[in-house]
Amino acid sequence: MPAATMGRVTSTAPAVEVVDLVKRYPKRGSNAVDGVSFAVRRGEVFGLLGPNGAGKTTTVGVLTTRVRATSGRAVVAGADVAADPPAARARLAVVPQRPNLDQSLTARQNLLFHAAYHGVGKGERVRRADDLLERFGLGERADSKVDEVSGGQAQRLMIARALMHDPQVLFLDEPSTGLDPQARLFVWERVRDLRERGTTVLLTTHDMDEAQELCDRVGIVDHGRLLDLDTPAALVARHSDGGTVEVVVTPPEGVDDVAGAVRQALERVDGVRGTDEMPAERPAARVRATVAGDPAALLAPVAEAVASTGAVVTDVRLGRPDLEDVFISLTGRELR
């Protein structure tokens, strides 16, 4: 069956491939997307992290056939988005930032008609709609008009709708912006489900927790450029100056300056770069050590050093570097 193998995407081919992508708007001085290249592996949850206006949504716009690139190449599940938009659309799905549900239809009808647009047969689309409404906790809302559902439910419904035609790549644009914490956790759970089911997910976010929690790999984007790309852990290891270990200690009998003694002891520990005394309730003292690398690795030597002064550790807090530090290191600015 040559027809069936034609255009077949082998499992080693990337799910999304972007090469030297540029998007220039005539009225803007700088490029919205300025020479971005990356590839998303099949089954991966991939995040584009950056502030608003960094070019994330424009990049996703190109990949989802809604924005025409000025130059460069974008391929989704083997379909070139510029050369064959309908083929790309058949294989991808989009959950937009702003609700765009069909207001004239109920929740279930939104799912059913979406599947019909994608040529899913009648019996199959009814089965999928029932299944997805259940999975997304929308069973009771199935026959409600969509203007009656809450913001969190609308977001879930849009994800369910996107899954109705069984896309190979799912695009989530700022999936949890504007959601309350509970709704946000629900969305995160569903994204993890999708990874387990083997669906490739590309999400954009300006929320470093979201990127860190959900993504296998993260691309840091600013001013239309991709600054770095790797797993969250590797990015943090590469771009941050380590973390902190903070200890609260109770002094032994008769010692006045326990903080000074502890600081001296800590500064002799390998990997500690410096120490500061922090405010604390007397007679306890609080000392923060800045460390290179993973602070957890220094926990034992730090405890030992404190014990050598005769003081007793009553509380420990580790300050791990995160993607926020990575972003600051790469751009010199804070993400938010």
């Binding site: 069956m1 027809a3 069936a4 193998t5 034609m6 255009g7 077949r8 995407v9 424009t58 716009g61 989802t64 056939t65 809604r66 924005v67 025409r68 938009p85 309908p86 083929a87 659309r89 058949a90 294989r91 991808l92 799905a93 989009v94 937009p96 702003r98 609700p99 765009n100 549900l101 069909d102 207001q103 004239s104 239809l105 008609f113 979406h114 019909a116 647009y117 994608h118 040529g119 899913v120 047969g121 009648k122 199959e124 709708r161 035609h165 069984d166 190979q168 089911r197 083997g198 669906t199």
Partner: protein, 284 residues
Amino acid sequence: MSSTTSDGLRADEGGAQRRPDGDGARRSVGHLAPALAILRRDLFVTWRELPAFLAQVLLQPVFLLFVFGQVLGSLGFLQEGYAALLFPGIVALTAFLTALQNTALPLVIDFSFSKEIEDRLLAPTPTTAVALEKIVFSSLRALVASAAMFPLGVWILGDIPWRTEALGWVVLFVVLGSLTGAAAGLPLGTLVPPSKINIVFALVLTPLLFTGASQYPWASLDVLRWFQVVTAFNPLTYVSEGLRGSLLPSTPHIPAWVCALALVGFLALFTATGLKGFLRRALD
């Protein structure tokens, strides 16, 4: 209806085993099936709101027919036979303006506020097919509205001009009028910025309503030459004249073939500019 079922889409159950490849099956679904599914959704919603839809599109022509055909006649302000002249013009007006408004207004709302159209633009079909569906759907609504004007005309006027042998021409002009109106709504709904749509609608609809030879035969405007020239630029004139000529051949009228040709020309012009406007709004 079951022809849209595709085996490729059913292939995978667990998810771990991806579909062998849906492409062969998906290609065979073709680009027409998604557009037809979109049309089916529009018809589904219209059918559910049928009474509201009919009230919305028929109120204006019914009142025009009632006041100008019946009331003024009863009061003795009109010449004998005016109601018969008016009727084909009102049918034309219903077809053309219903179609125009049914394309333009929803497009403005869709692109600017509700964004509902985004899900359609992501259907596996060319973007122009989504635009053409709008034209077809608005035309269907206009066809229903203009067909309803015939029984309503009998009810209001007691008697309407009718020639069964002209049925083919009547259908042709109602269809062409609906299509041209629907196509005219496409540039209007996509090229006009949302903040200006109110003013543009007011400035466009009222002149269209009164310069379209609906309320008078075009040939009789000889005495008002400048106005006759103005009306020649309104596509509605050719729908009115075509229908009037078919139903009342003895009234002086623009030849049917001229009307048909003019409408095809307008249809092509509006479709071309409308598709351009639609693509501009749909793609960034």
